[in-house]
């Protein structure tokens, strides 16, 4: 078997998904419409077939998503037959629970945390399934498969439960909840190889397309109404694709002609750049993601 390692990873992920469904009362799968959550959806389908996926999906919508991703998300939910819950960062802003960032680098990425924690409380979810991978970032590399969070959603690396032999302990006190990461051991290359192998569809922004862009600090950002454009920004047009798909305001585009999964996979691997390099909000400081995680960020 050519992709023997993917088969092993898939077995592991299915085991984790089934443990989540068995150990918790009310799981939810956090779905962003990005490639990792699309792979998660596929794995859930495989884990529970011929039964239905036994939990809802939830999207914390910053309101700054690529319209292509939202369109794709709704289509996929219909195909899978799962319920999608959407909660909006805009509502949290309107309720004065969070303050919109201002200035050139304003982003709603960090604001999602509040909306997420409120939604967890609203629906009494005891576990949130996420598509985070350990190869993404150095503080993620230390994340457990079951990560226990307190009432405030906070992550304390000192209180992480050891998971010898992948024995997963999901016992929690009232008010606590768990973030579960079934694709912890997958790399970006594994994700793309799996998308190719399974013939999965992706939002069009992952492939080369013509787009109006803003050139800032040497990076290309999608032109949109959400971006605070300043004098030093240059507006250009180019053939680009996105390697990670977060908010339009904080995801950088690459000049590329890769218009198929195969070409994208090849180009990514040849580039040797990491995908988080395209996340502008991670570049704020050396521990940007770790700081956000401690505060309850996914």
């Amino acid at each position: 078997m050519e992709n023997r390692h993917l088969y092993e990873l898939e077995n592991e992920s299915i085991y984790i998904l089934r443990e989540v469904a068995a150990q918790f009362k009310k799981p939810v799968l956090l779905f962003s419409g990005g490639k990792d959550s699309i792979v998660m959806a596929r794995l859930a389908q495989k884990a529970f077939y011929p039964s239905k996926i036994p939990f809802s999906f939830m999207h914390i919508d910053t309101g700054h998503n690529f319209p292509e991703t939202i369109e794709f998300r709704d289509k996929l939910m219909k195909e899978l037959g799962v319920d999608l819950i959407v909660r909006y960062v805009q509502d949290s802003i309107n309720e004065n629970k969070v303050q919109e960032e201002t200035g050139k680098y304003a982003s709603r990425n960090a604001l999602q945390t509040v909306t997420l924690l409120d939604a967890i409380e609203e629906f009494s979810f005891d576990v949130c399934l996420g598509g985070a991978r350990r190869d993404e970032e150095k503080s993620r590399a230390k994340e457990r498969i079951f990560s226990v969070r307190d009432d405030f959603g906070q992550w304390d690396y000192k209180k992480q439960r050891p998971e010898p032999f992948q024995e997963l302990n999901g016992k929690i006190q009232f008010g606590e909840n768990v973030r579960a990461f079934p694709i912890s051991n997958w790399t970006e290359e594994d994700i793309w190889t799996y998308i190719l192998q399974e013939g999965l569809e992706l939002p069009s922004v992952y492939f080369a397309h013509k787009r109006k862009l803003v050139k800032r600090d040497g990076a290309l950002i999608a032109h949109s109404d959400y971006l605070n454009i300043v004098d030093t920004d240059e507006i250009v047009e180019g053939l680009v694709r996105f390697r990670t798909v977060g908010d339009m305001t904080c995801t950088a585009a690459f000049l590329s002609e890769a218009d198929t999964v195969k070409k994208v996979l090849h180009e990514n691997m040849a580039s040797k750049h990491s995908e988080r390099g395209a996340r502008i909000d991670d570049k704020r400081s050396e521990s940007a993601l770790e700081d956000r995680k401690k505060g309850g960020y996914f």
């Binding site: 898939e10 089934r18 039964s51 150095k138 590399a141 230390k142 032999f165 992948q166 302990n169 390099g277």
Partner: protein, 418 residues
């Protein structure tokens, strides 16, 4: 591509992070961002050699203290293999992390400083590798550049290692390699400084997949063990009254038509179908996540074990096990905990502490009355309801369990049935 899982252990200054950095650097497996970071830190420090260790320092606290606290996972691939490294700290305070890191790996790399030779920690690292029955242990005698690449010094340490191995247990496959992570000798590239060493480089040893093939073969040849994670019922089209048992094969193989027994209900039946998503399989092998359905309607729920009729595990209500204690709260005779092995759970009482082991001198303390963080103890355990474990030595996947403290819900120990 072959998936290879490795764990690394070393003491604070053994240069473990540098070794991992070197392995990735010389395999051309670093990202551009990591290469830039190394460049930047090397310049900041004004060092002659590359600051390769920076890529494994994850948490703020670790960067501040310049040490590794928690298990980190590092991923890289070469043309033929994909590697997952579980990098754990070496200090005694972090024994639990080392056990955790090593538990999902087949190969363990133990680092030894050539200037210092074997330390207390080296004994502990090998003791744990042996306790976990790693498929292969690679001793890297590091910092050879600091002893002038001296062959005699290497031989001296190799002799110490062999003595240790024969004391703790020589039923384990091991290699000894002289390296310098800092200078890059015998990590990926063969050293030009140690022509006296005719053996393989670390990288070559990691690429030998013979042990992996043997390992898989051994797993398939073991008795079939299957934990039921969940029961699926459905009436969807094409699946009238479907009832299947979802789980992951712990060991052995199962084929359609095989006669099975379910435990603890002790009902016999025959395998009707094995499914994996839309595929119908003839056989399921160790590691496969599948759904099994049977010819008879029998009562099975989460936590049931399916075994072949002629290879049943023993029913246990009391047994001996080695525990590695992982929690700040200590335990004593009479402590009540929850045993969890896969989907099986049972209440448990520590009935007796047979002895605790001091891994630095292998002495057994038969008067131990409490079990503290990072202790390794032999115990006798009593259960409220039977479990069906094998001896860890015979069957890794079905010989291991964790203990959970019902007061705090923490995972407090990992246990190996002896």
């Amino acid at each position: 591509m072959e998936l290879v899982r490795i764990s690394t252990a070393g003491s604070v200054d053994d240069g473990k992070s540098t070794l991992i950095g070197r392995l990735l650097f010389d395999n051309n497996a670093l990202t551009k961002e990591q290469e830039e970071l190394i460049d930047q830190k090397t310049r900041e420090k004004g060092a002659d050699d590359l600051e390769l260790s920076v890529i494994t320092d994850g948490l703020v606290a670790e960067r501040e203290q310049g040490i590794t606290i928690d298990v980190a996972h590092i991923y890289f691939s070469t043309d033929t293999h994909k590697f997952i490294i579980a990098d754990s700290p070496g200090h005694v305070e972090y024994t639990r992390n080392m056990v955790t890191g090593a538990s999902t790996a087949e190969t363990s790399i133990i680092l030894i400083d050539s200037r210092k030779g074997l330390l207390e920690q080296s004994f502990r690292h090998f003791y744990i590798s042996h306790l976990l029955r790693m498929e292969k242990v690679i001793f890297c005698v590091n910092k050879m550049d600091l002893v002038d690449y001296d062959e005699d010094r290497f031989i001296e340490i190799a002799v110490q290692i062999k003595e240790m191995v024969s004391k703790i247990g020589d039923d384990i496959d091991f290699d000894i390699v002289p390296i310098s992570s800092l200078k890059g000798d015998n990590v990926v590239h063969k050293s030009g400084q140690m022509s006296w060493y005719g053996g393989k480089t670390l990288n070559e040893l990691l690429h030998l997949n013979k042990s992996k093939i043997n390992l898989n073969k051994a797993k398939y040849e073991q008795s079939f063990r299957f934990d039921v994670q969940q029961v699926y019922h459905t009436h969807r089209e094409g699946f009238q009254d479907f009832r299947g048992f979802a789980g992951r094969v712990k060991s052995g193989t199962l084929s359609v038509g095989d006669k099975i027994i379910t435990l603890p209900s002790k009902k016999e039946s025959t395998v009707k179908e094995i499914r994996r998503f839309t595929d119908q399989l003839n056989t399921a092998n160790a590691g496969d996540s599948v759904i099994i359905s049977l010819t008879d309607e029998i009562d099975i729920s989460r936590g049931s074990l399916i075994a072949k009729l002629n290879e049943q595990p023993e029913e246990l209500k009391e047994f001996d096990a080695t525990l590695v204690w992982m929690d700040d709260n200590s335990a004593r005779v009479g402590s009540k905990l929850i045993l969890k092995a896969g989907a099986t759970e049972s209440l448990l009482k520590i009935q007796k502490i047979n002895y605790s082991v001091d891994t630095s001198n292998l002495e057994k303390d038969e008067n131990a009355s409490t079990i503290e963080l990072n202790d390794i103890v032999s115990t006798n355990l009593k259960l409220s309801k039977p479990v069906y474990l094998d001896n860890y030595e015979d069957n890794k996947r079905n010989g291991v369990f964790i203990l959970i403290d019902p007061q705090t819900n923490s995972t407090v120990a990992v246990g190996f049935k002896s």
